[in-house]
């Protein structure tokens, strides 16, 4: 690149854009998804039904969405960022009022074909909205607290709604992803320190708002053996399955703990357990390596983008993706309490797959449009 001050202001043709698609990223995404198909095939005792087949269909649809999103000009996402955010917020409010009650939490909207989880949509919408928000704030202004009120509200509103569902995992993810974007936007360190101190002080109050089963999960996390047949069961069984996999694993389709249903939710949140039981630490580290490459791509793309919106968007998507990976794997290994966070691209589940691929679409879009100059005002049609 020549001078970072010079922007490439011309419109790109579709052909130019296709040329710019980051195929390496696509290959890693596909490889990860294929691991997912294999594990789901095993989870069904060697059958593509009921999970693997549907997952393939969803992934294909997701890929199409990813490419579409990637090819749409970054400025379009900038323009509609708040609108998308408001839409997602409305959906969240809707499930809060009318949402189908499933598993003790109001999380889904039944669309007939599939259940839509607005909290998943919000993960991307919040990243878009925050990226636009910080994009509009000048570098000097970031130091002033009054400029932080608006973005804080952007995070707080959905986090509160999701927390009310109650979905502790997603609420935490929204807050952490938002925090990462604040950090990248240049908010001073001491402010983070103050917020963290404040949050710690709030823990007793927050505890009061938790549902009994959530409290139980957190207590169980600290001492799973206290209730081996009850709340601690999932963590213990998951660790047994993982540990018994050893270095090389029990072999594809040979996992006993998962197949005999000792491991709960083996096709969704605990899918990593099945992978690690059958393929051992080799399989687990391989998947971790794929995730690591995706994260490196994410940061690399963020660094390459020459507009603040793109950078923040790329970092937001990458951090969200990281949070999925970390929370899920740490949870199944007993490092974090059990919260409902799927393993990205591998766990069976429609909405998270679409959310993630939508996010990767945005990431690729940032790369494709990395040299596009974007005005501070999204509405400025000076381009």
């Amino acid at each position: 690149m020549s001078d970072p001050g010079e922007f490439f202001h011309a419109e790109m043709t579709l052909r130019q854009k296709l040329w710019q698609i980051n195929w390496g990223l696509v290959v890693i995404i596909c490889a990860t998804a294929v691991i997912g198909f294999a594990v789901l095939y095993s989870a069904a005792n060697g059958s593509i039904y009921p999970w693997a087949a549907r997952q393939m269909v969803r992934f294909s649809a997701g890929l199409a969405i990813m490419f579409t999103v990637a090819l749409i000009d970054t400025r379009v996402w900038l323009r509609y960022a708040y609108l998308i955010y408001l839409g997602a917020l409305a959906l969240l409010a809707y499930v809060d009022v009318f949402g189908a009650v499933g598993r003790g939490a109001q999380r889904w909207i039944d669309l007939g074909a599939f259940n839509l989880q607005p909290s998943e949509v919000m993960k991307v919408a919040l990243v878009l909205a925050l990226a636009r928000c910080f994009h509009a704030i000048r570098f000097e202004e970031i130091g002033r607290i009054r400029y932080l009120v608006w973005p804080l509200a952007l995070v707080a509103a959905p986090a509160a709604l999701v927390f009310r569902q109650p979905d502790l995992g997603t609420a935490t993810m929204l807050v952490l992803a938002g925090g990462a974007m604040f950090f990248m936007a240049g908010v001073r360190f001491w402010k983070f320190g103050a917020v963290i101190a404040g949050a710690l002080a709030m823990i007793p109050v927050a505890w009061h708002f938790l549902r009994d089963y959530q409290k139980q999960r957190i207590l169980t996390f600290f001492d799973p053996e206290s209730d081996p047949m009850g709340a601690g069961y999932h963590i213990i069984q998951s660790k047994i399955a993982l540990g018994s996999g050893g270095i090389f694993g029990k072999g594809f389709l040979q996992g006993t703990q998962s197949h005999l249903n000792f491991v709960p939710e083996k096709q969704t949140d605990f899918v990593f357990t099945l992978l690690a039981e059958e393929f051992g630490i080799i399989g687990g580290l391989f998947l971790l390596a794929l995730y690591l490459m995706l994260l490196i791509y994410g940061f690399a793309i963020a660094m390459r983008s020459r507009n603040q919106f793109g950078r923040l968007l790329a970092v937001g998507v990458t951090v969200t993706f990281f949070l999925y990976v970390f929370i899920n794997i740490a949870m199944v290994m007993g490092l974090l309490p059990v919260v409902g966070v799927p393993l990205p691209l591998v766990s069976y589940g429609g909405t998270s797959m679409l959310t993630l691929l939508f996010g990767f679409g945005l990431l690729m879009g940032v790369y494709i449009h990395r040299d596009i100059g974007v005005d501070r005002s999204a509405d400025a049609e000076t381009l």
């Binding site: 970072p4 001050g5 000048r138 570098f139 000097e140 990462a180 950090f183 990248m184 240049g186 069984q237 660790k239 047994i240 399955a241 993982l242 540990g243 018994s244 996999g245 050893g246 270095i247 006993t256 703990q257 197949h259 005999l260 249903n261 000792f262 690690a276 051992g280 630490i281 687990g284 580290l285 971790l288 995730y291 690591l292 994260l295 490196i296 940061f299 963020a302 660094m303 603040q308 950078r311 970092v315 951090v319 990281f322 990976v325 970390f326 794997i329 740490a330 290994m333 490092l335």
Partner: protein, 624 residues
């Protein structure tokens, strides 16, 4: 563009920090993975196997108990129960309706089944009814297509084909009690039964066999997925008894309603051929869990149906001990058979008067007559001259007052008193009057029917210390068809009694039954070659007071049952070549000659007709 440049620098810096933080967290995950899957892997592999593999014990079948001819005394019988597997039927209620039409289920049973179904997983078989008769099983099998989820489960239960006749001997099995749990996993199985009495108890460990095991892979909710390995158990050993069940049954029937016991044994080998105690109980009732009503009936009965009187009942032998007293005198060189005593119906010792059973006395009485007619005055005199310690020493040589180790629970020792014994146990010196009483088998003297049979056997076999045995062999199931006869009986030591003395005594016993004045003449065996010799005994349960004697003796029949005398008889047959010894004790039966002797006669006659030792026993003791 300055601002953007510094912003970009800051962005780059912070991106490095953020990605660095993420890298640290990811390495934490990798470390955790290493900890779980490499360092702790062995432990988790064990836990995983424990999770997955369920060891199920396979019940071994309990060993049979058979008599000397291979007749089954305790066997295992297939028992059928009907179970329902709720997940295999669409409508449990409808299936229960249909099943109820076949074996008529009560409301209570249906409620219990419904309750169990709710409590258990769908694949778990719920017992609807146990111990089905074959007809019910057949009906259910025929209707199987209409009864989805209904199955017949086959188990084993202990059965005693002869029920009460050998109940005390065999004992019974029942569910394991809390106190019997030793940690042995077999004992924890609900279907497992242990021996609670008799041979079943004494030989329980051999009869049990060894449990097999089946390693079953189970899933998280306990459903068996497949069998991984199976180790067959070993059935329990078979116990062969010396009993002749037909004789046992005969004796049992002969005793009828009496509270009595009979022991028949081979005088040479010591093999017990019959060991009966009445009244008895049905051991089959314990196998399936005894009902409270039946248990109450058994325990409330004054005649103690649960007690094996043959080995645990202790009675004053009465006159049946007189041979031992006579031998003590003869062998001690105190007296000769010619010793004479004049019996006027009583003997005076200081202020006390000791009566003969015959009010007006036997007149001049020698030892032969004393045994033949059971003169008490004669034996008061013999006992007084001989002394209680000599009598006790002789009694012990005949097996009285000691454990004979027949191998049945609760065998009692009886009691043969001595001077030392009295001083040690009662704290007062021995009285001469007590010697007199002991001389006619009363007072402190106690013996079990088994001991009396052994005494008779030792008199009959020429003075060998034969010991009673009940078990011929314990062998692996399926080995050998019937009891083999190859084993030589043990060579019992002599008890060192002079031949002349012994022949004199057995001759006098012959006179008891086979001479017109003998006390058991009316109960003699008339069949040629089968004649029996013996001795009657009548043991008082309570002392007869002076006032009672003066006002005339009360007839035994008029007393309440519990106060009536015990009737005792010991004997052997055939007289010319003794082979079988018998002892009969009828509690509160009255006179030995009237009640016990006829029973002994019938039993000995049947024994000789069947000749169980002759059929299968060694012939080496046959003498010309």
């Amino acid at each position: 563009m300055y601002r953007d440049r510094s912003r970009y620098k800051m962005f780059t810096r912070r991106a490095l920090m953020l990605s660095g933080g993420q890298a640290v967290l990811l390495s934490a995950l990798a470390t955790r993975m290493y900890y779980l899957q490499v360092i702790e892997s062995a432990r988790y592999q064990v836990l995983a196997e424990e999770n997955r593999i369920n060891l199920r014990l396979l019940l071994p079948s309990r060993g049979r108990i058979v008599d000397r001819f291979g007749v089954e005394l305790a066997v295992n019988e297939k028992s059928y129960r009907v179970v329902i597997v709720s997940e295999q039927t669409k409508d449990v209620e409808e299936t229960l309706d249909k099943l109820g039409a076949i074996i008529s289920l009560s409301d209570y049973e249906r409620r219990r089944v419904r309750h169990e179904i709710k409590r258990r997983r769908g694949f778990f078989p719920i017992t609807v009814r146990e111990n089905l008769v074959w007809e019910e099983v057949a009906k259910i099998e025929v209707n199987a297509p209409d009864l989805p989820g209904v199955m017949i489960d086959v188990g084993q239960s202990r059965r005693y084909p002869h029920a009460a006749a050998a109940a005390h001997l065999l004992g019974y099995v029942a569910a394991v009690s809390e106190a019997e749990l030793t940690g042995e996993p077999l004992l924890a199985l609900p279907e497992f039964r242990v021996g609670k009495d008799g041979i079943e108890k004494v030989h329980d460990l051999r009869l049990r066999g060894k449990a097999g095991a089946s390693e079953v892979e189970v899933n998280a909710i306990g459903r068996a997925i497949r069998e991984l390995a199976r180790r067959e158990g070993q059935p329990g050993d078979e116990v062969v008894l010396s009993i002749d069940m037909a004789l046992q049954k005969f004796a049992y029937d002969r005793l009828g309603d009496e509270s009595a016991s009979v022991v028949v044994m081979d005088v040479h080998s010591g093999e017990v051929l019959a060991l009966v105690s009445t009244p008895s109980f049905d051991p089959n009732a314990f196998t399936k869990g005894i009902t409270t009503a039946y248990w109450r009936e058994l325990t409330a009965n004054l005649r103690a149906p649960l007690t094996n009187k043959a080995v645990t009942g202790q009675y004053a032998p009465g006159s049946a001990i007189k041979m031992v007293v006579a031998l003590a005198a003869l062998e001690g060189g105190i007296l000769t058979p010619d010793h004479k005593v004049f019996c006027k119906g009583y003997i005076q010792l200081g202020n006390a008067r000791f009566h003969c059973w015959k009010k007006h006395g036997h007149g001049h009485t020698d030892m032969y007559k004393g045994i033949q007619q059971s003169c008490d005055v004669f034996f008061y005199d013999v006992a007084r001259r001989t002394g209680v310690d000599r009598i006790a020493a002789m009694a012990e040589r005949f097996g009285l007052g000691q454990l004979l180790d027949i191998g049945l629970p609760g065998e009692r020792r009886g009691l043969i008193p001595t001077r030392d014994w009295k001083l040690a146990n009662k704290g007062v010196p021995w009285q001469l009057g007590e010697t007199l009483i002991a001389g006619i088998g009363q007072g402190f003297v106690l013996s079990t029917p088994l001991q009396l049979a052994v005494m008779a056997a030792r008199l009959a076999n020429g003075g060998r210390a034969v010991k009673p045995t009940l078990v011929r062999s314990v062998r692996r199931a399926g080995e050998g068809k019937t009891a083999d006869t190859g084993a030589e009986p043990p060579d019992f030591p002599e008890i060192k009694i002079g031949k002349a003395s012994l022949e004199f005594i057995t001759g006098a016993m012959n006179a008891v039954t086979n001479t017109p004045r003998g006390t058991a003449y009316r109960a003699r065996i008339k069949e040629p070659g089968m004649a029996m010799a013996g001795k009657t005994g009548t043991s008082q349960v309570r002392r007869i007071s002076m006032s009672e004697r003066q006002s005339g003796l009360i007839k035994n029949k008029q007393k309440p049952w519990i106060e009536r005398d015990h009737a005792v008889f010991v004997g052997f047959a055939p007289v010319h070549d003794p082979r079988y010894a018998v002892a009969v004790v009828v509690e509160h039966g009255g006179g030995g000659s009237k009640v016990a002797a006829p029973i002994a006669r019938d039993v000995l006659l049947e024994t000789q007709r069947r000749d169980p030792s002759g059929v299968s026993g060694p012939q080496r003791f046959a003498r010309g």
